[in-house]
Amino acid sequence: MKEQPFIRWDWIADHTDEIWARLLEHVQLTALAVGIGLLISLPLAVLAYRRRVFYPPLTWVTGILYTIPSLALFAILVPYTGATSRTTAEIGLVSYTLLILIRNIVAGLDGVAADVKEAARGMGYSPNQLLLRVEIPLALPAIAAGIRIATVTTIGLVTITALLGQGGLGYFILLGLNRVFTTATMLGAVLSALLAILVDRLLILAEQRLTPWSRARAA
């Protein structure tokens, strides 16, 4: 076997198109997983917030989902949803976001000051107006924190779905493993880490844009 340098920059230069395509796929898989996770978590979290009895079973079920090793979960799903399907990948990815999102949304809603809720009710906000105009906006920092954790976790997990023919940047990691080719492994690992850091920063900026009041303080 021919001795290789640790990183072959020429190989990277030759594959820029594919790198971009995999990066885009990585972003898509992540966005879809967190988006669907949020769509499922939000109503469940609101239910748990309003009817407390639902909260323990919800954290119990999503907690179990969260602790299943990802490799095992994909292995369980393959006979039902296919070995190389995006559905298999997404079911796994979504289930890992649920616990984080539900817990953060409920904690955010719980953290809204009681006097603010009482004042809004006293002025004639209906329960839904209270939720949409007061409770959710004020819970945004906690919800955003949950989205950030879920997103960063998912960006890492997406690489594992390379085993299902998905995987975004995970494709390079797998390629490097199979061929003992460190350039590809390093490329996949470093880019997915950079992506996680970048997206985290962007989400912080988005949260700041959405909550202008949290920066306003008495002079």
Partner: protein, 267 residues
């Protein structure tokens, strides 16, 4: 204007009623202060008027209409409400806070803007504060924004739960004076809850001194309560310095009554 008939409230899981068979009439344009030791049911009583708390039994009328027959959300939009910590929406600007109820009831933009400008003037607030967030205001400013918000749709009835409780004594004094001036002009029917007898004496047209279970020990003008306490509970609650307190009663309309009361006391 507001009448409570045999109103009781028993909270689930408790044996003693928080409010027991309370009957109370409040006339139009009057400031009635509910005062009593903590846990006496004064706040519960107030919150039953806008149905933040549902009475267990009895009837409540506001302006001749049965409160319990109305949709509670609609009802609350017609009654001004101010609480101790004001409860300004931290994510809304001062202007948006003041506009909350007008927007709920669907006023158009020009009417809302005109009313907001009027309220700012009325409460002596700086128009520059309108685009600010509550966290940028002083305690006194927040409190006045809270009152402006409660007055936004000009409701005939206002409920105020220790509205000056969260500010320091000097600011409180000024806010009380300002509020009395305002009330001279707007003549709202106000139910005001406090645990502070001095504040009650200063703000009230009539005071209801409540014992546990919202039992009315005396319901009378401040001057009467000071000069003729109905019983030992009232005497103890008002305190031994009631002679001095009477001197501090500086509202012009009470002067005649005061003089008569003082004379009555001496004979």
């Amino acid at each position: 204007m507001i009448s409570l008939r045999d109103v009781s409230k028993i909270f689930p899981g408790t044996r003693e009623p928080a409010v027991r068979d309370l009957t109370l009439d409040i006339s139009r344009g009057e400031v009635v202060v509910l005062v009593g030791p903590s846990g006496c049911g004064k706040t519960t009583t107030m919150k039953m008027i806008n149905r933040l708390i549902e009475p267990t039994s009895g009837s409540i009328e506001v302006d001749g209409a049965d409160v319990l027959a109305r949709d509670p959300v609609e009802l609350r939009r017609t009654i001004g409400y101010v609480i101790q910590n004001i409860g300004l929406m931290p994510h809304r600007t001062v202007a948006q806070n003041i506009e909350m109820v007008p927007r709920l009831v669907g006023w158009d933009r020009s009417k809302i803007d005109a009313r907001t400008a009027e309220l700012i003037e009325m409460l002596d607030l700086d128009p520059d504060l309108l685009p600010r967030y509550p966290s940028e205001l002083s305690g006194g400013q927040r409190q006045r924004v809270g009152v402006a918000r409660a007055l936004a749709t000009d409701p005939p009835v206002m409920l105020m739960d220790e509205p000056f409780g969260a500010v320091d004594p000097i600011v409180r004094e000024r806010l009380q004076d300002q509020f009395l001036d305002l009330q001279e002009r707007i003549r709202k029917t106000i139910v005001f809850v406090t645990h502070d007898i001095d504040e009650a004496i200063k703000m009230a047209d009539r005071i209801a001194i409540l014992n546990l279970g919202a039992r009315v020990e005396q319901y009378a003008t401040p001057a009467e309560i000071l000069s003729q306490p109905a019983n030992d509970f009232v005497r103890a609650f008002v305190g031994i310095d009631r002679g001095l307190k009477r001197l501090a009663l500086a509202r012009a309309s009470d002067v005649d009554e005061l003089i008569a009361a003082v004379r009555g006391d001496r004979k």
